[in-house]
């Protein structure tokens, strides 16, 4: 006796959260059944393995049918075939678009192209996430990217509107889209200590301050592309380190203000010029696409690592960066105060976030 056909269709579509998770995680039906058996569900419910098998198959089939709709979440809301309560719809969408930290760190900043997709095998082996799940996550990134990349208006709003994600997840996706578009390097060994959250935090600051949208909210791609004009202008900051007098004055202003307040004062004093040069040179180089990509590598190399090797506490870093930014306002010979604030305001936030072990 073999079951040829075995289906269950409810007027309200039944969604089993546990099975959904297994499906999203890319397990095959038999693996999912094995995992469910291990969870002790048979003992709890008194069901048999055959029942579990049939149930799992059924849910998988439902999810498979829903997947097409999940690719365009507003469709899930307006479709008539599956009657799903709004709370469940939200859960389906949110879980479908959720991603693994380990996975996103591998893909963040990479071009979402076929080439990268081919590397998913390796990512899967490396992270232990099933290839199927990797594909889903990658396709999600790519799909969101494609939809919003050339759209007018706030990136987060656009993502929320077209994919109905929660605020939190929409922000994460904004970061992913932003990183993919600007191709920031995140995979270098020295960046491994950084989490997706660190990058997402920086992305948000950069979107807020460094993109076209920061100055004009009516342009296409406003939140996705950096403000080219701004990057060009950043060259002007170079005088802060090129002009020796200015550099000395800047140093003395900072040192005077921080004397006695910093545990690592002497280290700071000794390193001031190096650090300042590093931060200003990063700014000046941002006109080249390649250097934009290396932004995070440079920040870590030029600032985070030197401070870390001198064991600066985070609070000292904060005090220093605040004073370092503020003191520029007292430099009479320096005219680009607004530019400096736009640059340093964001950078200070990023650096503080990036500064950890």
């Amino acid at each position: 006796m073999t079951s040829e056909l075995d289906i269950f269709v409810g007027n309200t579509t039944l969604i089993d959260e546990d099975v959904y998770r297994l499906w999203l995680d890319g397990y095959s039906v038999s693996d999912a059944v094995a995992l469910r058996v291990r969870s002790g569900i048979l003992e709890q419910t008194g069901a048999t393995a055959a029942v579990l098998q049939s149930d799992t198959m059924d849910h998988y089939r439902t999810f498979h049918m829903l997947e097409r709709l999940l690719h365009a979440p507003p469709k899930l809301l307006h479709q008539l075939i599956f009657q799903i309560p709004p709370s469940r719809q939200a859960l389906l969408i949110e879980r479908y678009y959720a991603f693994d930290e380990a996975f996103v760190r591998e893909v963040l900043g990479k071009k979402l192209s076929k080439g990268t997709k081919k590397d998913l095998d390796d990512i899967s082996t490396k992270t232990g996430i099933t290839l199927k799940s990797c594909r889903r996550q990658f396709d999600n990134f790519k799909r969101v990217f494609k939809v919003v990349e050339e759209m007018r208006g706030s990136l987060v709003d656009n993502i929320q509107q077209h994919f109905l994600l929660s605020d939190r997840l929409a922000r994460d996706y904004a970061a992913i889209v932003f990183f993919a578009n600007n191709r920031f390097e995140t995979g270098k060994k020295k960046l491994q200590y950084l989490s997706f959250g660190d990058f997402a935090f920086c992305a948000e600051l950069m979107i807020q301050n460094w993109t076209l949208g920061a100055v004009d909210s009516q342009v296409d791609d406003m939140d996705v592309d950096l403000d080219k004009e701004f990057l060009q202008d950043l060259k002007e900051l170079k005088m802060l380190v090129a002009d020796k007098d200015l550099l000395d004055l800047h140093k003395s202003l900072v040192c005077t203000a921080l004397r006695g307040k910093l545990g690592v004062f002497s280290e700071m004093e000794a390193n001031f010029k190096n650090l300042s040069r590093g931060l200003v040179n990063v700014a000046a180089k941002l006109t080249h696409n390649k250097d934009v990509r290396d932004l995070f590598v440079d920040l870590v190399e030029k600032f985070v690592e030197p401070c870390r090797s001198d064991h600066w506490p985070l609070n000292d870093v904060r005090l220093f960066l605040n004073q370092y930014s503020a003191s520029v306002h007292s430099l009479d010979g320096f005219r680009h105060q607004a530019l400096w604030d736009r640059y340093m305001g964001t950078l200070r936030g990023c650096l503080l976030r990036l500064y950890h072990d």
Partner: protein, 991 residues
């Protein structure tokens, strides 16, 4: 030209991409009614076209309005080649034809294609302007309301229940026409869908005409079925119960009846305004004075009587109402009706006087080609024959009527089994007709009828019993005789006194048969049938005993014929009726004496059986009070002396029914395990596993013993097909396979719905079909309803308090039966404090959840929720309006079965689509639920080698508007005094 149909095509959305080059579609719409077609403009390059068309107007006869569906076709415009069809929408405009139902159909309909399934949606608005037509000899029957519900619909009361109406129409099946060889599968499917739609429209119109002739205004318990006879044609047949219904609309009438529904729904959906039905018979606005005088002395179902012999298809045409009227004048009421049948399963209080037992009849027919579709004589004659048999069975049981009546067929190649079954009953003629001569008789019956057990009392003569049976004095009133076991096809009457909870009981049986042709085949089947009936009956009886119960309700026995086997599946809900004696146990006896090990084995089995019975009694809370003469001091007014008038009726009949076969063994209850077969039976008895804790199941509307439903319901359909290994096909192996199939299916359901615990599967409806040699298909539709355990306690307490007050029974064990449904107490219990708690606790919680859950991003959802249920009510809600019946037929076919996920993927998607289309139609009518939903047919055929499959599904139900009780509360708090009113009116009946 009495009607104008107006259609407006507003917009489309989610259309499929028809032009690969542009990834877009140039869509336009054809609107067709009858032979007239209109077209919209082409909306270029869009998947979400906005046509916003003018009003397309069709001027048509109301006859056409009833028969024809509105057909909307969405196409993709193609300049160079033929336009491609995207899909179609058929809209049944019948609901617009009676004033009380919907006034406009407006909404998003799924665009359906028989090959591709749903492909986007279309927004349509439909209106009908009807002109009054005073021609009494017209062919249309606009205005007759149809209900699938097998009880008097909630917001109506029955003025008169006229009786049985039936009709059938036949046609050639387009699938088997010569043209089918050259046309596409799509064209063929669409021809079939359209034909069936037309035929059901015609059928409904003809039934409506009969109802008008009977002077009724509605058909309740309307059941329409298709017989796909293959080569020989297509039969669409319908049965129903003609009634005169009165809408409870005026505030005065409304309050007592509808103020209680909060309670009414929960405790029993079947309650109907008790005394109103009878009292207002005389001043009903529908029956004018002349009308009622004229109807006085004739049988109302006479049109059927006179014409059935010559084919009822012609009945409507020949006799105008007046002509028929004259003929009828001389005939007296109920006994003279040709078919005193009622498709109802639940009745207004006082309607059902006694129940005799189940009557059923089957016959095996060889199908031949229907030569002239206009003369469906053979099919009519076949059914007439079976109905006659049913009628005579009922007579033999001393009953003059059959209730819970239904008909079905099973077809395999050219053999067809026709089945009919029902419950023989004695009815109170009061409801059947106003002002009958039997007035005085009713009066006496009414007075003397003991509530809660009256229906159990035997209607047949004790001395002239139609079959051997154990009779005892009723355990409730101690005055009348009752049988030891009662089988019925109806729902549990609300006033029945039940102890403990009920449960689903199934008997399953397979019998191999040799493959044969024509007459030989039919004869083989006919020979097998009685044995199957007998065995099914024995199994039911044994299982009932094993559960420690003594009555079956909602019994439905389905016999399915296949190429090489016959399957029997009986489902019913077992209960313990307080009025009937405690069932004895099951004794096992071996025929081979003096064999030590054998006897040991037997005693072992016996012990197992006894243990099971004990366990079941505990599980279902069956704790009948100790039987001692004094204690049965019933709270019910005792009848002095029941009139024996009824008895005499049975004496005239001396027929012996087929049914007696099975009753013959009843008194013994000794299972003789003298051969392996019987051994098997005993084993199979013990293999039925009870549902996991927290689950109950029944196939009736509600579960006896549970009355505190929450508003959480989940209707579902589950289908399983198994392939039998063709090798060891023995009856036993077959039985085991079939048994496992059903048991596993139930287990799966319990597992799937575990999040709803505590919960009850209600109206569990199993259908078996044998699509191929080695395939068995089982389809189950049911609704899972969550109930509240805590509330159960409350209700129990209140109830127990009540019972303590009025009865001398302060027995602890009484606490165990919360559902002691006594007619005099329950429908009339106002429960003011308990009710308030119930309402506050149950409904707002559900509402609250709903609101909380709607997360902000999804708040703009436009799809309204449409509930579906096979029950006639929605727990925790009140039905405020019936919008018309939904009767839909779909075909889906695929030539890429593997790509669509195999047979399971294909059928899963199709059923989901059918649900979606039902919901969309209901929503467009302005409704938010379908009640009495039923999937009447699910015919699935596959050909995996060709990567093909086809499925036909037919569903029906009543579209309704319901309002949550929590929303009604505002109304009820405004009139706090109204709360006590139902108790007063309810009391009048019994006191």
């Amino acid at each position: 030209m009495p009607g104008k149909l107006k259609v407006k095509i507003v917009a489309g959305r989610h259309l499929p991409v028809m032009d690969r080059a542009s990834d877009l579609t140039d869509a336009f719409v054809e609107v067709k009614f009858g032979n007239t077609t209109f077209k919209t403009d082409v909306y270029l390059k869009s998947l979400n076209p906005q046509w916003n068309s003018e009003w397309f107007k069709f001027e048509v006869d109301d006859e056409d309005l009833q028969d024809e569906p509105l057909q909307i076709t969405v196409l993709d415009h193609d300049t160079y080649s033929a336009n491609d069809a995207i899909g179609k929408v058929y809209i049944d405009i019948d609901p617009l034809l009676y004033s009380e139902a919907a006034t406009v159909i407006s909404g998003w309909f799924p665009i359906y294609d028989t090959i591709h399934g749903i492909r986007g949606e279309i927004n349509v608005v439909v209106k009908v302007d009807l002109f009054n037509d005073l021609n009494r000899f017209r062919q249309s029957s606009c205005g007759v309301k149809f209900f699938c519900t097998t009880s008097i619909p909630k917001c109506y009361r029955a003025v008169i229940i006229h009786g049985f109406v039936e009709e059938l129409v036949v046609n050639e099946d387009p699938e088997y026409q010569w043209i089918d060889r050259i046309r596409t599968p799509r064209a063929s499917n669409e021809a079939r869908q359209r034909l069936i739609s037309l035929m059901s429209g015609e059928l409904q119109r003809k039934i409506g005409l009969k109802v008008l002739e009977m002077r009724g205004n509605a058909v309740v318990g309307y059941l329409q079925c298709f017989d796909l006879e293959g080569e020989s044609g297509l039969v669409v047949r319908a049965i129903g119960t003609a009634c005169t219904l009165d809408k409870l609309s005026s505030p005065a009438a409304f309050l007592p009846a509808c103020n209680s529904p909060s309670k009414e729904m929960k405790e029993s959906p079947l309650v109907h305004p008790p005394s109103h039905g009878c009292r207002s018979t005389h001043n009903s606005p529908i029956h004018t004075a002349t009308g009622s005088r004229l109807t006085q002395n004739f049988s109302v179902s006479v049109p059927t009587l006179i014409y059935t012999g010559m084919g009822s298809g012609s009945a409507g045409k020949e006799g105008g109402p007046f002509k028929a009227l004259l003929r009828q004048q001389t005939q007296s009421a109920l006994e003279q009706r040709e078919f005193p049948f009622f498709t109802l399963t639940a009745f207004p209080p006082g309607f059902l006087v006694h129940v005799g037992g189940v009557v059923s009849a089957r016959s095996v027919k060889l199908l031949d080609r229907i030569h002239n579709p206009d003369e469906p004589e053979t099919r009519d004659a076949w059914w007439a024959e079976i109905r006659q048999e049913i009628k005579s069975h009922a007579k033999a049981l001393g009953c003059h009527a059959v209730v819970g009546y239904s008909e079905s067929t099973s077809i395999c190649e050219e053999v067809c089994i026709l089945s009919a079954s029902g419950t023989a009953a004695v009815l109170n003629p009061r409801f059947l007709q106003d002002g009958t001569v039997e007035g005085c008789l009713e009066q006496r019956l009414e007075e003397n009828l003991p509530a809660g057990c009256g229906f159990c009392h035997i209607p047949y003569d004790e001395l002239n019993m139609p079959f051997p049976a154990h009779l005892t004095y009723c355990y409730n009133c101690r005055k009348q005789k009752v049988p030891d076991v009662l089988f019925t096809t109806i729902d549990l009457p609300i006033d029945a006194t039940v102890i403990g909870k009920g449960c689903l009981i199934q008997a399953r049986l397979c019998r191999l048969k040799k493959k044969a042709q024509a007459e030989a085949n039919a004869t083989a089947i006919s020979n097998l049938l009685p044995f199957m009936e007998y065995e099914v009956h024995t199994q039911l009886m044994n299982k009932l005993k094993l559960k420690g119960m003594n009555a079956l309700f909602g019994l439905r026995i389905q016999i399915t014929v296949g190429e090489n086997m016959l399957m029997g599946l009986a489902s019913a809900t077992g209960v313990y009726l307080a009025a009937l004696p405690t069932p004895g146990g099951i004794q096992i006896a071996g025929k081979t004496p003096n064999d030590g090990s054998y006897e040991q084995h037997i005693s072992h089995m016996q012990k197992k059986i006894n243990d099971t019975i004990a366990k079941n009694k505990e599980l279902y809370e069956i704790n009948p009070p100790e039987v001692s003469e004094e204690i049965i001091g019933s709270p019910i007014p005792e009848p002095r002396q029941r009139s024996r008038l009824l008895r005499s009726q049975s004496e005239s009949s001396d027929e012996v029914t087929e049914l007696d076969l099975s009753h013959g063994k009843k008194d013994a209850f000794v299972l003789e395990i003298d051969d392996t077969d019987a051994m098997e039976d005993v084993h199979s008895l013990l293999t039925d596993v009870p549902p996991p804790s927290g689950f109950y199941s029944c196939n009736t509307e509600i579960m006896p013993g549970i009355n505190n439903w929450t508003s959480e319901i989940q209707m579902f359909t589950s289908v399983r097909v198994i392939r039998l290994s063709s090798l060891n096909l023995t009856n036993q192996a077959l039985n085991k396979n079939f048994n496992d199939l059903c048991e596993n299916l139930l287990k799966s359901l319990y597992f799937k719905l575990r999040s709803m615990i505590p919960c009850c599967l209600c109206h569990v409806n199993f259908t078996v079909s044998l699509p191929e040699d080695e395939l068995i298909q089982v389809t189950v539709t049911a609704v899972a309803i969550t109930f509240d355990k805590n509330q159960a306690l409350q209700t129990t307490k209140t109830h127990v308090e009540k019972s303590l007050q009025r009865a001398s029974t302060d027995n602890e064990e009484l606490l165990q039966f919360p559902l002691e449904l006594c007619s005099d107490s329950l429908p009339s219990h106002p429960f003011p404090p308990a009710k308030a708690v119930t309402v506050e606790k149950a409904s707002p919680m559900g509402e609250g959840n709903f609101r909380n859950r709607s997360a902000p991003p999804c708040a703009n959802s436009t799809v309204g929720v449409v509930k579906m249920t096979p029950l006639s009510f929605i727990p925790g809600a009140k039905i405020t309006k019936y919008l018309g019946i939904i009767n839909m037929f779909f075909i889906r076919e695929t030539t890429s079965l593997r790509e669509e996920g195999g047979v399971s993927g294909f059928l899963h998607a199709f059923i989901a689509e059918v649900f979606a289309m039902v919901r969309a139609h209901v929503a467009a009518l302005g409704g938010n639920a379908v009640v009495s939903y039923i999937m009447k047919q699910c015919v699935f055929m596959e050909n995996p080698n060709k990567n093909q499959a086809q499925c036909l599904i037919n569903v029906s139900g009543d579209a309704v508007v319901f309002v949550r009780e929590s929303e009604l509360e505002v109304v009820s708090t405004q009139q706090p005094t109204a709360n006590c009113q139902p108790s007063c009116t309810g009391g009048e009946v019994t006191t």
